[in-house]
Each structure stands twice: as structure tokens, then as C-alpha cells.
């Protein structure tokens, strides 16, 4: 493991248990402040994770297609300390009874007409309303939403608010990570030649649900990496193909597995990444890959603190890694984690060097670092490291070991 990473004391500012009411109230406060800056009287949120953020309501997220008939919708008003929730779910949200409403159907014209009627009871005529996304039924029937032309972007408002996590949010996130790692430990204990990828998924899913996950949020990845790039699928950029889908493929001794999973707890997404060798110890060459990966992580963490530009992190990684950019060309060196599985900040993405040079880390952000070392001919090493950004550096969010390395 990176020297010193797990030896740091557990972050003192993160409570053992989150105060969910306080967490929700602080978010609404932030949203209303951001709405004020934007001159928005109300925002209407359809995106599942935006609704989770705005209302504190959580439910086991389903297939994306389900959202269109099972879609909780949030309305946040600039002059109300409580958000409104329109929901088909059987769960009781921790909101006043007059802020909880039955479901709405925004994919259907009749459903939008009914929503407009209910919205009219909440907002004054002529109010400036933002939305995060819209359906064509909304465009046809949403006279309040489209009163001033295309609605303003409420998604941006939410994105800005959720950048910096409160201590309660960090506590939820840490629990999501703990649950994930309980599932991962069960999988790793049963990893042996002859087992099938889907059997790893079976163990993972059964364990995380029993351990307290609200939902699994990523079809778990147990990708067998080919020794060379050329043996993998064709890609648009000529770089690695990852993540590739899990099948009933049988694993063989010596297979190099790149692992990636995510679950939710109280609306927070976890993220987990490691490299495993099936039924074998790493070779000397593989150990060297891991050592280089450690050096990259150490170099990046050395410059990681509130105020650091994204470029400082990418430069640190590249200085150690040599010629090859040490992260996936279609992703990034690091990404934010929270209510979404990947959210701002994106460090080293195709948003570009100018973006990285002008954006900085902030206290309370959570960053997942996912550099990799590719060693053509002997596959490579990839793992993910989750840290919370502080004024003077960072704090580890997890301490899962790197076995068999």
C-alpha cells in the first residue's frame, strides 16, 4: 500500500453516525442560497440523484428505464426551508406531511397537466423556475416551466451544492465504502481458478445487501485483462477497453482481474477498484507494476490539498509514470464521489488541460484517484484510492488492503 496512507488517523471530523435530518437541512440551505444567486424562485428536479440530494429521500435505485414510471420528483422553493417530494414510493420521507405528494408522470401529457396544476399551488404566477431535464410532454404541456422559454439549468445548481461534503455526508459515504468492502472481502475469499465471473457477482450482491446496501449501482466488473493491448477489443482511441461486461466466463489460474464495483447507502455511491491475480501470487514483473502504481499515488497525494489545481495532480502522476499517461484515456486520473458515482471534480479528463489548470480542489471534496500502470506483455495494475480533501491535505476514507500485492 502507499506508504503512510492507511497509517493516518481516522478523520476526526467525520461522525460515526450521520444525523440525517441535519444533513438534509444543510443541503436545502445550500440549494436555496445557490438558487438565490441564480435568481431562481423554484427548481424542479427529475434526475434520481438530484431528487435524493434535494429531499433526503432514498430508495433502491432501479434500472434507468424504471425512472419513467417510478419517478420521484422534487420541487425546491427559494422561500421554503422544506423541499416538496412527489413520489410513488411506499417509503415515508422525513418531510412534513404537506410536503409529500403522490406520484406524477412527466412522460405523459396528462401527467404533466396534473403536475402543472399542483405546481401552481406552490409557485406564484411568473415565477422563474429551473429544471434539470425535461421530457417532450413537459415541453408541450408545461406552460409554467416554459413560460420564459427553455427553463434555466437546475442541474448546475445541484452540482455546485454537492461538491463539498458535510461531515454527515462523509459519514454516509464511509459507510457505503465499508459495505462495499465487506462484499469485496467475501468475493476475494472465494476467488479461485474455475469460478465464473457471475459467481463473483452473486457473492458480492448477496453480501452487500445483507451488509446494509440500499442498492447495487454498477453491474460489477471482474475484467480479465489480456497481457497486451492488441489482444483486447478495438477502441476508438487505441487505448485500453475497460470496463468490459461480466459474463459466465470461467476464471483461470494467473488471470489478471481488474475489479470495479459501486453500491449506495443513504443515497451515497461507493467506489472500489483493485487488481487481483486468480489463484496465484504476483510475478516479479507484476510487483514492479504495483510499486510504480504506489509511487504514482504517493506523488499525487503529495500535492493533494484544498487549493491545488487539477493540473498539479496530473503533472505529479505523469512525472512519475514516464511516457505513458497513467490513467484511462476515456476517463480521468480522478473523479468526485458522492450522491453520484462520478461527479465533479474531474481531474485529467477530456475537459482539457485548460480546465485542469483553472480548477482547484476544495475542502470537503471527495476524490477517487484511479491511476493505472500498463505494462504491455504483462497486463497492468489498476486500483482506486478514495480520499477526502482538507485544507492542509487529505484524509483516507477507507483502508482495504491490496492483496495479493
Amino acid at each position: 500500500m502507499p506508504a503512510g496512507l492507511m497509517e493516518r488517523a481516522a478523520p476526526g471530523r467525520i461522525p460515526a453516525l450521520a444525523d440525517l435530518d441535519r444533513m438534509r437541512a444543510e443541503r436545502t440551505e445550500r440549494l436555496r442560497a445557490a438558487m438565490g444567486e441564480q435568481g431562481l424562485d423554484a427548481i424542479v428536479l427529475l434526475g434520481n440523484t438530484n431528487v435524493v440530494y434535494a429531499t433526503g429521500a432514498t430508495w433502491p435505485l432501479g434500472d434507468p428505464g424504471r425512472a419513467n414510471f417510478e419517478q420521484p420528483v422534487a420541487v425546491v422553493l427559494a422561500d421554503d426551508e422544506w423541499p416538496h417530494l412527489f413520489s410513488p414510493l411506499p417509503d415515508e420521507p422525513a418531510l412534513p406531511a404537506d410536503h409529500v405528494h403522490g406520484p406524477v408522470y412527466l412522460d405523459l401529457d396528462e401527467g404533466v397537466r396534473e403536475f402543472e396544476r399542483r405546481l401552481g399551488e406552490l409557485v406564484a404566477p411568473g415565477a422563474t423556475i429551473g429544471v434539470d431535464e425535461w421530457t417532450f410532454a413537459m415541453a408541450r404541456e408545461g406552460s409554467r416551466l416554459f413560460a420564459h422559454g427553455p427553463p434555466r439549468d437546475a442541474g448546475k445548481v445541484v452540482n455546485k451544492c454537492k461538491l463539498r461534503k458535510t461531515p454527515d455526508e462523509l459519514a454516509c459515504l464511509r459507510e457505503a465504502l465499508r459495505i462495499t468492502e465487506e462484499g469485496i472481502a467475501a468475493v476475494q475469499a472465494g476467488l479461485e481458478p474455475g469460478i465464473r465471473q457471475v459467481e463473483l457477482t452473486a457473492t458480492f450482491l448477496a453480501t452487500v445487501f445483507e451488509a446494509g446496501a440500499d442498492a447495487n449501482t454498477l453491474d460489477p466488473i471482474w475484467q480479465v485483462m489480456p497481457p497486451t493491448l492488441g489482444e483486447g477489443p478495438w477502441t476508438t482511441h487505441g487505448d485500453l477497453a475497460c470496463p468490459l461486461l461480466t459474463t459466465e466466463r470461467e476464471l483461470r489460474r494467473g488471470d489478471v482481474l481488474w475489479v470495479d464495483t459501486s453500491v449506495t447507502y443513504q443515497g451515497f455511491h461507493s467506489d472500489f477498484g483493485r487488481t487481483w491475480i486468480v489463484g496465484d501470487e504476483p510475478t516479479a514483473r507484476q510487483r514492479a507494476q504495483f510499486r510504480l502504481w504506489q509511487e504514482i499515488v504517493e506523488a499525487v497525494l503529495e500535492v493533494t490539498r484544498a487549493g491545488a489545481t487539477h493540473s498539479e495532480l496530473t503533472a505529479a502522476a505523469r512525472t512519475v509514470a514516464g511516457d505513458r499517461v497513467p490513467w484511462m484515456a476515456h476517463f480521468y486520473l480522478g473523479h468526485g464521489l458522492g450522491i453520484d458515482a462520478a461527479e465533479m471534480p474531474y481531474v485529467g479528463s477530456d475537459l482539457g488541460e485548460q480546465f485542469d489548470a483553472t480548477h482547484t480542489l476544495e475542502d470537503g471534496m471527495v476524490l477517487v484517484l484511479e491511476p493505472l500502470v500498463w505494462d504491455d506483455g504483462a497486463a497492468g495494475y489498476r486500483a482506486e484510492e478514495v480520499v477526502a480533501i482538507t485544507e492542509d491535505g487529505w484524509e483516507p476514507m477507507t483502508d482495504y488492503p491490496y492483496d495479493p500485492f
Binding site: D63, T135, A139, P151, A202, A206
Partner: protein
């Protein structure tokens, strides 16, 4: 289940892809749409036939798949060609991007983008509403969802077979959860049993993850305020899987420690009446009427909703009477049909069946066994 193992990521069958794509093109023609830009995964799967990474929860619109009417060309967001059929050549694949301007460049590169007059999307975000005109300078951005919805509304025989296979996996998973069901067990342990069985059956993607619910004795559409099963509880097991892109969903109710026969009888009567109403040519109103005729208040959620690639019509709910009146149950329509009864002091009993409307009447995709049972453990 065929019993064979799937060890490669493959595109959907060629015949299935061809049929679906030609239906989509025909509906584009009907609406005068030159280019379809699809964000919803089910729509992209329908048109492209490519399995992509599953993640839970809704996603904001992003151009994930493009269909050009004049050429039938498909352009697909996929950084690699695994699972991509030959009819989508490498030069029509575009990679994951976090930079919307790079996405605009991709769309600009679609042959016909510069001259398209009508571009349909299946939803929009404020950002893409601003950006799409840069990629399609001559186009009006119009509703593309209506066209895809019509194409997907009735299923081809091959699609019905896919749905039948998905329902079979769901039944197997529900049985695994049922076997765990007993006083003292928690809702999440039942979800764990469902999910583990699903993956062992070769499917790693659920459609819903809210598998077990102890129903409330106080409120008609609520969960009990505890998650450990006790004698006397009415527990709904509702599950679904996404297999080959197609959703199979079912629900059954169990009485822990037995009893509640009267409520189950009412549920079974309602279920019979609802199924009988699923005649070809009937409308959604007939289903709502079956509830009323039985003297039962429908739940505050859809009593019927299309099964297919994630979201399909019909959607029939008591809150949407006009929509119900306009939803004709044509042969080839497949939906999840929910029977629901609730009694104060007892709780709710719910059954969801997967119904395929045929010329001869409703066909259950799945076993026609009892919708509920008593668990004496």
C-alpha cells in the same frame, strides 16, 4: 433457461435488431424526423442492439445513439467494439466524453447532420437544448420519443420470447427469496437471496432492487416501520431482472405464519377479473373498471405498465383516466399487471403478472400458479 453458458458479450440477434431498427425508421418517416438522437438506454438498445454497461438510476440526457433515416446508419456511444455488430462500423463508434463540446463535434460528424431539418431526441437537458443547434444548424429539435414509443409499443414474436426468458429468471429468483421467507428474516436478506440467485442464473442486472416489503397495516400504500418479518405480516416479494436488455417483472405476496385467506381470495378474484379484461381491443379503462367493479381502490401507482427494454407503454394508472381511455390493448402488447388489495389492520396483498395480449386473449409469461401463499415457518 437454455442451460448454455454465455461467456462472450454479444450483440442482440441479427433478426431482432433488423426488425426493431426498421420499425424505428418507419416511425421516423411517419413523424418526418431526419435524425434521432437517443439518450435513454432502452431506446438505444432497441435501435443498436448493443449491450452496454448497466448502472442504476436515471441518467440525464446525453447523445448515446444516433439513427439517420436516409441511410439507416447507427452511430453509437461505445469506446470499444465488444458486443457491437458488423452493421455498426468502427467509424460510427464514438467514445465516452466528459466534454460536451467533444460530443457536439461527434454529432457534427454524422453524415446528414448539416442538412437535417428535423432532429428528434427522447428528452433534453438545458445544456443539450443549447448545444444541439450547433451540431444540427438547419434543424428544428422535435419530439423523437413519440416515434420510438410507437415502434416499441407492440412486441415482435422474438421480443416476446426474450421477455418470456426474462420472466423465467425472475420466477427462479423469487423462488429463492421465498425459500428464505420466515419470521425473523429481514427484508434485505430476502433481497440478497434474490440477487444472488439472479447472478447464478447468469444475469447480473436487476430492474428493481426493492425486492421485499412488509406491508403496512395502517396505510394502504406504505411499508411497515420495521424490516424484520413477524408472524401475521403480509410480505410482498416483487422482483425483476434485465436480461438481454428485456425486463421481466413479477410480484407475489406471502402471509408469514399463515392466515389472511379472505384477503387472498379477494386478491385472486380481482386478478381473475383483471386478466379477463386483457382482451385484444380493450382499453386501459377496462382495467380500471375491473378494480371498481370489485369495490377495490387501485394503488396510487400504475396498475399496468409496459414491459420491454426498460420503459414501454402502456402506462395505466387511476390518476391518468384520459391516458387509460386512449391505451388500446392490441395484440403484441406486453405489460406488468398489478392486482392489489389492502385491508386496515391486515396489510396489503399484491400480485404482478407479466401479460402478453394475443389475438386469443391474455397469455401469462410465466407460471399461472397462485399469486400468494401462506408461509407457516
Amino acid at each position: 433457461m437454455s442451460g448454455t453458458l454465455t461467456t462472450e458479450v454479444l450483440p442482440d440477434e441479427a433478426a431482432l435488431r433488423r426488425e426493431r431498427r426498421s420499425r424505428a425508421l418507419a416511425e421516423m418517416e411517419a413523424d418526418g424526423i431526419d435524425v434521432l438522437v437517443l439518450g435513454r438506454e432502452g431506446n438505444a438498445r432497441y435501435v443498436a442492439g448493443v449491450p452496454r454497461l448497466w448502472t442504476a438510476g436515471s441518467r440525464p440526457f446525453t447523445p448515446g445513439c444516433v439513427l439517420v433515416r436516409s441511410t439507416g446508419d447507427v452511430h453509437l456511444l461505445s469506446t470499444w467494439d465488444e458486443g457491437v455488430p458488423d452493421d455498426i462500423p468502427h467509424e460510427h463508434l464514438y467514445g465516452i466524453t466528459f466534454n460536451p463540446m467533444n460530443m457536439v463535434e461527434v454529432l457534427r460528424g454524422v453524415a446528414g447532420a448539416a442538412t437535417a431539418a428535423r432532429v428528434g431526441t427522447d428528452s433534453l437537458t438545458p445544456m443539450f437544448a443549447q448545444l444541439l443547434p450547433a451540431a444540427f444548424p438547419a434543424a428544428e429539435i422535435v419530439d423523437g420519443d413519440a416515434a420510438v414509443r410507437r415502434a416499441r409499443r407492440t412486441k415482435t414474436p422474438a421480443e416476446v420470447d426474450e421477455l418470456r426468458a426474462s420472466v423465467a429468471v425472475t420466477e427462479r429468483c423469487l423462488r429463492a427469496a421465498e425459500q428464505r421467507l420466515a419470521a425473523g428474516v429481514t427484508e434485505r436478506e430476502l433481497a440478497a437471496a434474490f440477487m444472488g440467485e439472479m447472478a447464478r442464473a447468469g444475469v447480473t442486472t436487476p430492474s428493481t432492487q426493492d425486492v421485499a416489503r412488509i406491508t403496512s397495516r395502517k396505510h394502504p400504500w406504505a411499508r411497515a416501520e420495521r424490516d424484520t418479518l413477524a408472524a401475521g405480516d403480509l410480505v410482498v416479494l416483487s422482483g425483476g431482472v434485465v436480461r438481454g436488455g428485456y425486463t421481466g417483472e413479477l410480484a407475489r405476496t406471502h402471509a408469514v405464519g399463515g392466515g389472511h385467506g379472505g384477503l387472498f381470495d379477494r386478491l385472486e378474484q380481482l386478478r381473475g377479473a383483471l386478466l379477463a379484461a386483457c382482451r385484444p381491443g380493450a382499453t386501459g379503462t377496462d382495467l380500471l373498471r375491473a378494480y371498481r367493479a370489485a369495490g377495490i381502490d387501485p394503488p396510487p401507482v400504475p396498475i399496468a405498465r409496459g414491459l420491454g427494454l426498460g420503459f414501454d407503454v402502456p402506462i395505466i394508472a387511476a390518476d391518468l383516466p384520459d391516458t387509460a381511455a386512449g391505451e388500446r390493448l392490441d395484440p403484441g402488447v406486453v405489460f406488468a399487471l398489478t392486482s392489489y388489495v389492502w385491508e386496515p389492520g391486515l396489510g396489503a396483498a399484491i400480485t404482478t403478472d407479466a401479460v402478453h395480449v394475443t389475438e386469443d386473449g391474455p397469455e401469462l409469461l410465466g407460471s399461472s400458479g397462485p399469486s400468494s401463499n401462506e408461509v407457516t415457518r
